[in-house]
Symmetry: D2
Subunit: 339 residues, 4 copies
Amino acid sequence: MKKINFASDNYAGVHPEVMKAILTANDGPAVAYGGDDITAAAIQQFKCHLGNHAEAFFVFNGTGANVSALCAMTQSHESVICAEKAHIQVDECGAPEKIVGCKLLLVPATQGKITVEGVRTQLQRIGDQHYVQARVISISQSTEYGTVYTLDELRELSDFAKAHGLYLHMDGARLANAAASLTINLKTIVEAAGVDVLSFGGTKNGMMMGEAVVFLNPLLAKSFLYTRKQNMQLASKMRFISAQFQALFSNDLWLNNARHANTMAQHMAQGLRKIKSIQITQPVDANAIFAIMPTALIEKLKTRYHFHVWDERLSEVRLMTSFDTKVEEIADFVSHATQ
Amino acid sequence: MKKINFASDNYAGVHPEVMKAILTANDGPAVAYGGDDITAAAIQQFKCHLGNHAEAFFVFNGTGANVSALCAMTQSHESVICAEKAHIQVDECGAPEKIVGCKLLLVPATQGKITVEGVRTQLQRIGDQHYVQARVISISQSTEYGTVYTLDELRELSDFAKAHGLYLHMDGARLANAAASLTINLKTIVEAAGVDVLSFGGTKNGMMMGEAVVFLNPLLAKSFLYTRKQNMQLASKMRFISAQFQALFSNDLWLNNARHANTMAQHMAQGLRKIKSIQITQPVDANAIFAIMPTALIEKLKTRYHFHVWDERLSEVRLMTSFDTKVEEIADFVSHATQ
Amino acid sequence: MKKINFASDNYAGVHPEVMKAILTANDGPAVAYGGDDITAAAIQQFKCHLGNHAEAFFVFNGTGANVSALCAMTQSHESVICAEKAHIQVDECGAPEKIVGCKLLLVPATQGKITVEGVRTQLQRIGDQHYVQARVISISQSTEYGTVYTLDELRELSDFAKAHGLYLHMDGARLANAAASLTINLKTIVEAAGVDVLSFGGTKNGMMMGEAVVFLNPLLAKSFLYTRKQNMQLASKMRFISAQFQALFSNDLWLNNARHANTMAQHMAQGLRKIKSIQITQPVDANAIFAIMPTALIEKLKTRYHFHVWDERLSEVRLMTSFDTKVEEIADFVSHATQ
Amino acid sequence: MKKINFASDNYAGVHPEVMKAILTANDGPAVAYGGDDITAAAIQQFKCHLGNHAEAFFVFNGTGANVSALCAMTQSHESVICAEKAHIQVDECGAPEKIVGCKLLLVPATQGKITVEGVRTQLQRIGDQHYVQARVISISQSTEYGTVYTLDELRELSDFAKAHGLYLHMDGARLANAAASLTINLKTIVEAAGVDVLSFGGTKNGMMMGEAVVFLNPLLAKSFLYTRKQNMQLASKMRFISAQFQALFSNDLWLNNARHANTMAQHMAQGLRKIKSIQITQPVDANAIFAIMPTALIEKLKTRYHFHVWDERLSEVRLMTSFDTKVEEIADFVSHATQ
């Protein structure tokens, strides 16, 4: 029997509407490297959602998006302030250090969110030639813990960034889930956060592959064409990424997919909360549930489901839902987790 | 009217069989990052074609394949000897320098092919701490000029490389076209050249996106998992790349696609050779034709066809065929080029 | 009036014996880039002190020594585990990230010393392609806090490193002070720690400029000639660095200088301990004193002495002694500190 | 017997006046990292010689100066156009590629000098994301062949650079020799060339070690303090480099040293021109003589003199003079080269 997936939203397949768009795009030859009409249209859709000044560049994956975004914002002697467990810190195999050459400065993050107080502790030694100079605050929305920054929390960080001459990078691999959670449109979120450069995720939300680096601060985009190419992120048959974004932005598919994943997470959380031996450890804002459960139970569930043990010492697991999670799969899991 | 494509084999779409494999792969969730069955099977197919010791890693694009391959072969103080117009020199926006940190040493290449005599001129100052130390010979098969190294030419380079402790990298973005041209299987070509690491192209031969870095020298693969990730080339939903390779290696699709493209190039060449004002400048071994033609003719043809002016001063153009070039398109071009 | 220096041992001048050696070395032309006799002799002296297998390479400064050493030990996807406040983390302006491309993983360090327990927490996700792979433990001896690892502490770290396949790097910018403190020779310290590569400091111990990267693990030295050059650390008139090391290793100057600095620190500590408003915060093992004192007193002393405020919030200062600190200067400081 | 040096001006020792300045600078403690008075004064002297807008930063060696200068002028996707045999291309062990990450584009250089015609051939594919974008022209004055650009030649390059939005870097490791040769002051040369950033050499002209990166375009200096530190070029006891520059700029020592070296080269050339079997191959503008001579003669002379065989196939040698070359040494060489 195939295991049921609660491991990650990137275990999911491709949404049928996205696949249909790919098939439709396969309509004979087209100009390579983004010179095609589909890419032009998809770029335009980003302007619709994020403002006319938004400039979107498509790349292959999340690492490519995050690292290339940081390349556009940071020189090697500058630093990026981020959460202790930010994806760019713990899941990119050191790509920011190798490719950007910069240092990440870490801030403890309760429930995955950093605060102005935390950032302030890393804002040190300005003008001291021996020390990396703070340049970027990078946050994930939604966070690695499935939580979502409120607009007020974003505004506070944004105000601080502006006041101290820092850029703001948003790792939006799951921005759609955050928008669905906040029931607020993308533009409002991005503006509240004063985002300079956004990594916008497609893969985890129903695409086959593809992310966008979106510049809200167009000055930073000046040489990004070259950065993308040099960072090995320029797709020759780019239309097949662009078409996926087109599908995502048609009929609110991006939102519906994210909303579904979030709803499934709520169902899961409700089910698990009724089980005494299980303790949910993070607010379930988006599409992840973190829970402590008995080791024996973990062992048992592992035979039937894909999911990650997040913290072995705590016996804490992460369960993720996605656009294709089924209600019955949630019920199945909850029922197997009961006793 | 949509222009007819002779610009590049990456203007082509996706072959229907490849697309079918993608659709089939979209069968619910699967383990991410290459832990899925399709990826395992595709890796196995590379072993079938290139030998059991061959270790294939899938990446997104040609730049990613070439640069990551060089990362595995070269330290920053070492050098890569390649043709003056090698793709890694003139079409990667300096990615090898930035990402590998190494220097490329250039060798003049008649008809795109380098020779032992050329390589020897760059084999200098061994042991001199002031000078980059030669480590890799990189060749393209087929070349940027649509020519194909013969087995004897490959063996000569291989012997030289072995004799001087150099690795051999083959940029095989169009290796299929070379194999079709030589009517020799992949393994024989790769062995003749004594290839240590191969960049094997999929995109230009009917795939949507995806290339493979294949290690024939397994020692060099030791830390490549990390290199691929750090180079932003690790696809989360990797099965959708792997499935394309599976399709390519089924029913000889890789060979048939390449053979078709080559045949179309032969047709084109035959047609153009009859036109007095046009002079074909390179042997047409694979799927590219280089030709000098009157500027006015170029201007006229540009309105109806996509193609690249290769050398403005010489009034030389490059015409490329691909798996989906149609006989009628060749006829159309030749007829419009005639008067 | 010139302020008295307690700011750093690199505010000190050049020891007269070192200067004499420089003058003596200025004896007409000599082969450049380390091909001279003085360099050969100085390299030999390192063998005398550290064992016949020790291979020393001279570089310009501490950043150059540390970063080049790490280049020899680490690939970009690997990590260096070090103290939270290690010099390579907080005082090299991100040079390890830019030049080596690797990530530093931080360990809390009471009194500047890391422990096996701390290192163990960073030994994570071995074999996980998404995460940097631990490769090096880097310690400073003496530490940034003027403390000195005991032989037992070193052995414990060494055993752990060997057991887990990690290299050990010692930042010995002040190794002489550690040796003087422990009254143990250099070889014993380095062997206890199982050092693979040592950054051996000259500048802070009476030289004008110059440090050595010393390989106790000769395999790691294989391409270091090129690394040094590429890292811009190859002195053309190298004999003038080598001569300084010769002087340092003659008549135990290295030890006497360090011993003097340490003794002065002891005097200072004794004096300050008698002052009620001052609290010494770290063991005074080598040539630094960390002390909390009233802000007003700091302000007053700043007008007469050079020294650094280490932690503004705590009102903690760092006082450093060096080979040329005078007993009267200590007395002067203590008397002025006694309001 | 010690061989006589015609190998390089960096085989020379330290000029007595420079050594005296070092001794004088050793006057007790002083603020580290360039915060001292001597450094301030030496920076001021650069303003005297090069204009009040000139901002000088001292570094350790020529590689450090050149590479750090390029770091300030170039992003990794940009290129540096230079002579085929420029020092940055053939004698820095690939440091520009590793540290700057950029590509060097080579221009043939008769007598070591590049021309506008040459540079123009490398000014390609502006705005093409696949290709490195030209950003800097780098020239050496005097050149690797001991020749010197005239003011008119410099102006032509400068005009071209300005017209095409390129920066101009001058590798002035031997700028003093060029100035002596042209009998023109430094400012006029630098202004004729429209230099944006100058690497100014001290080591080859009588210093022990030390070069300056001088910004004539102050915008480029904005973050150079950090670049210097990150590039491992920040001397802690910087005054000992600064003092050397002070000595060099006192009593025209820089000019007298260079003039002497040039004069010695003229003597040498005059002597060698009388020998039938020897053919001088380059104009002797500065302090180098390139000459073809019989292999047997080379072998003989090698036993008595240090010098480099420049081109083995041509049997061409390079002879360099320096500030400390003696008339008798020239006579000795010429006499031994005769018959």
